[in-house]
């Protein structure tokens, strides 16, 4: 039987505020345990939460970016459950009326554009951390510890509709959301530190069936690679289960990256009754339209708008435009390089940034903000390609030298010092062609008998003789003229 995969994602995004969502404690990551937990975070008797407006502002920012409805009045509720890293034993979250409602996210899966509807995005507080391993208690005994530094860190939980149909789509959605929240400056995107946490709801159904299958929620996926693997594993598991005559049980499953499998954590039967009710300590969150407008005024140009502009203004292919608009830094780099070049050279800049620059960055595990070749330097190098000083191929060698910091990374100095200037002198090139033709009479004969390949072989020989510096276009033209004459 043919199966259709149905995936929806819930993403917990830690908002980049200075202080916690309901207290004045710092949200900085990595401090000594419990040094960033005040009476509110510790849930001491008599303490009360007070809404941090900065967190609301970041939620509004997100809502505007995905073209969602920003609720003029949203409600904080208490989600009641006992767990030691939740100091009040309830989590303050938004339940019935979230601050951000609806919205869409568009992204590319390969060269196909896909738009996914968002259900909602709501504000809530993060929990602390339980430390079960290697913790020594006050009397030297093995113990569990609680670190409440993270407790109360603001989260925006972004929920998608179940509209993704493959692991690849889910990963593309997650990457696009990840780059968007960083683009907006609302989240640092650090997945290792847990700033961006993805849960995947996965189900399958026979192709053509309208009703959804029973879903499982997969937790503990802390990279895009693991997200893909976890979904793939889970889909296989569900298909095998059903094809063997079993049925999927609604449950929460943990992904174990070491064994590359998902394991049952708790079933629906023993899931909590959270006893949600409006938090009487917090009045409804009222967002006047003037507040929304003041946030809108500070919004950067969004990736989707930038992508459209890259296509219409520079004639880039949609996939290229999408890649260049995947982060603010990358788009900025592209725009800076582009601004220094003649107007019709955007493609050259795009090809270089997505090719040589990105490949080198990937190899060295750096991102564009750490690129040792500045946009101005790259533009200077590309200018030398355009004016024929170096070929595209030689330019790669120059780029490598720039990356390595030779001659202060100045392309002109490197070209000069290494004698890499392209040979464009017709006489010099003709002489080289003549020498090669004289030595390769057999290949010339092959060409003349109709073997087009032979031509390329001759070009190779000539370029080799020129140590790669001959202007390839000129070599082509002159050789063709000579052979066909």
């Amino acid at each position: 039987m043919a199966w259709e995969i149905v995936i929806g994602l819930e993403t917990h995004t830690q908002l980049s505020t200075q202080t916690k969502i309901f207290s004045g404690s710092s949200t900085r990551y990595g401090a000594l345990p419990n040094t960033q937990a005040n009476e509110v975070d510790l849930a001491l008797p008599g303490s009360l939460p007070v809404m941090n407006k900065a967190a609301v502002e970041l939620a509004i920012r997100f809502g505007l970016a995905v073209d969602a409805f920003i609720a003029p009045r949203s409600i904080f509720a208490r989600k009641n459950y006992f767990y030691p890293d939740s100091p009040k034993n309830y989590q303050i979250s938004q339940f019935e009326i979230p601050v951000v409602q609806g919205g869409t996210l568009s992204f590319f899966v390969g060269d196909q554009e896909k738009t996914v509807n968002l259900t909602r995005a709501h504000l809530e507080e993060d929990a602390g951390k339980s430390m079960h391993d290697d913790f020594v208690g006050p009397h030297g005994e093995a113990s569990s510890g609680i670190d409440l530094n993270r407790a109360g860190t603001p989260l925006l939980e972004i929920v998608s509709e179940p509209e993704m149909r493959s692991a690849a789509e889910a990963v593309a959605y997650a990457k696009s959301l990840h780059s968007l929240v960083m683009w907006l400056g609302i989240c640092d995107g650090n997945m290792q530190e847990g700033s961006f946490r993805i849960d995947a709801n996965v189900s399958i159904r026979p192709v053509g069936q309208v009703e959804f299958g029973t879903r499982c929620e997969i937790k503990n996926v802390n990279s895009f690679k693991f997200l893909e693997r976890a979904i793939q594993y889970e889909v296989r598991r569900q298909i095998e289960l059903i094809e063997d005559g079993g049925r999927v049980v609604q449950e929460t499953r943990l992904y174990d990256s070491e064994r590359d499998e998902t394991r049952s954590m708790r079933s629906k039967e023993d899931s909590h009754d959270y006893r949600y009710f409006p938090d009487p300590d917090l009045p409804p969150l009222v967002i006047e339209s003037s507040w929304i407008e003041s946030v809108r005024a500070t919004m950067p140009e969004l990736p989707a708008a930038l992508r459209t502009r890259f296509i219409s203004e520079f004639g880039l292919a949609p996939v290229d435009a999408a890649q260049l608009s995947s982060s603010r830094d990358l788009a900025g780099y592209f725009e800076s390089v582009n601004a220094a070049l003649p107007p019709d050279q955007a493609k050259l800049a795009a090809n270089w940034i997505m090719g040589e620059v990105s490949a080198t960055l990937n190899r060295e595990e750096k991102d564009i903000s750490q690129c040792p070749v500045s946009a101005a330097s790259l533009a200077a190098l590309l200018t030398r390609i355009i004016d024929g000083t170096v070929s595209n191929k030689i330019a790669r060698d120059v780029f490598a030298a720039m990356w390595a910091g030779e001659h202060q990374g100045q392309p002109d100095s490197i070209i000069q010092a290494k004698g890499l200037t392209q040979i464009s002198d017709t006489g010099a090139i003709t002489a080289m062609i003549d020498a090669v033709l004289a030595e390769n009479a057999a290949i010339v004969a092959e060409y003349r008998s109709g073997k087009q390949k032979a031509f390329n072989s001759l070009v190779g020989q000539i370029m080799k003789a020129a140590k790669g510096k001959a202007n390839p276009q000129q070599v082509n033209d002159l050789l063709k003229a000579k052979l066909d004459s």
Partner: protein, 510 residues
Amino acid sequence: MSNALLHYPNITALSQALASRKLSATEIAQDCLDQIKQQASLNAFVHVDADLTLAQAREADATLAAGRGNILTGLPIAHKDLFVTKGWRTTAASNMLRNYTSPFDATVVHQLLEAGCVSLGKLNCDEFAMGSGNKHSAFGPTHNPWDRSAVPGGSSGASAAAVAAKLVIAATGTDTGGSVRQPAALCGVSGIKPTYGAVSRYGMIAYGSSLDQAGPLANSALDLVDMLDVMSGFDQKDATSAEHCKGLPNAQGRIRAEFDSAAADFNGNPAQPLKGLRIGVPKEFFGEGLSTDVAQAVEAALVQFQKLGAQRVDISLPRTQLSIPAYYVIAPAEASSNLSRYDGVRYGHRSESYTDLADMTGRSRAEGFGPEVQRRILIGTYVLSHGYYDAYYLQAQRLRRMIADDFQAAFTQHCDVIMGPVTPTVAQPIQQDQNDPTADWLADIYTLGLNLAGLPGMSIPCGFGTGVSGKPLPIGLQIIGNYFDEGRLLAVAQQYQQVTDWHQRVAGQA
């Protein structure tokens, strides 16, 4: 000198004695500490620390000596043990917090300390403010100074008892369903629950957060003005505290200004100071269950108010009876969640033996909480549970809105204030048949409505009835106002107290 508070029975008198240096704050504090010891059998105080108290008194004396004193400087007060304090332990009268000390002061505690008040310590109450007789305390019951066999009311029972027994000049209390007004009535003192949001809840251990409000208990309406004026004000640490009241900033001085203005108005007509004041008398407050002595005392008070020029208007608050189920759904629902934090993990009682985490939490809570608290947590958990939420919690919230609407209809169409009894009877015996643990709840019928509506209300002494033991026991008159009308309410009460002396009666000397 013995018992300064008998000689100087109100804030004005005591404050003048301090200002004129007839008495020092230290002398008063020492005298009160002695009285607390002498009357230890009342079981009013649960935490006393003479060093802390005397240090505050010396500070007050220094302030007075420097000429920087104000009306409250050096006055002996005490706090219900529901307010967290840095110095004294804070237990909410629960074994759960038996050894707990807070690292910070409640806003109310801080404001009274700033004003120069000297704290004598912490007052007994019903555990986590759940109860109406001060019987549900891990430290044992507090006794009524008028009759040791009777309850002082609750949950701020010891706050009322301490004022009535002259252990302090005033005390703080909290009122979720009547917990200031009811003990004030049963102990013959004056007490006010202000509008929800007038006083900060920061540092007040939460019971029913949407209902809880702090209020003072003292010997007269005039004394309540001094106390409440300092206690109230917007607090940025409490998101439910009001920034503005009727367009004016919620700050110290608001209550006094409104009181002064209303008082000046009334005093402008010495013959009939309350002329034009319409007093709504809800017929539902005088139905079945109201004892004859309370009904007669309240009627007599209403006649007195008419003599002062006020007009009596019969009104109806049709959903009065329904305030009981509405309250006993909403308050326990909030309590079940508010008290979840007491799990033995970070502070408070932790069971000695347990098998795992869930067992530790379960045992710690079973051992730490008394039966009444457990009862309300169970009810609250039930009414919030999946499948019951709509039938109980949502329904109660709907009732709550209707009850508030009934009050608004009365205020907009018929009257300026509402008056009636606080309690159906005088104080009941401490030893009582406890086969029906919820029987006490029905006696809250007159006080719950305004907590549900968030309105201000007060209780002032208006006579005496006879208790089960045959001794005379005080009766309270309830005066309810519209939102943020505290100043005016207190001025109305003061007119009554100018022509009556119920509030000057002293326990044991009546």
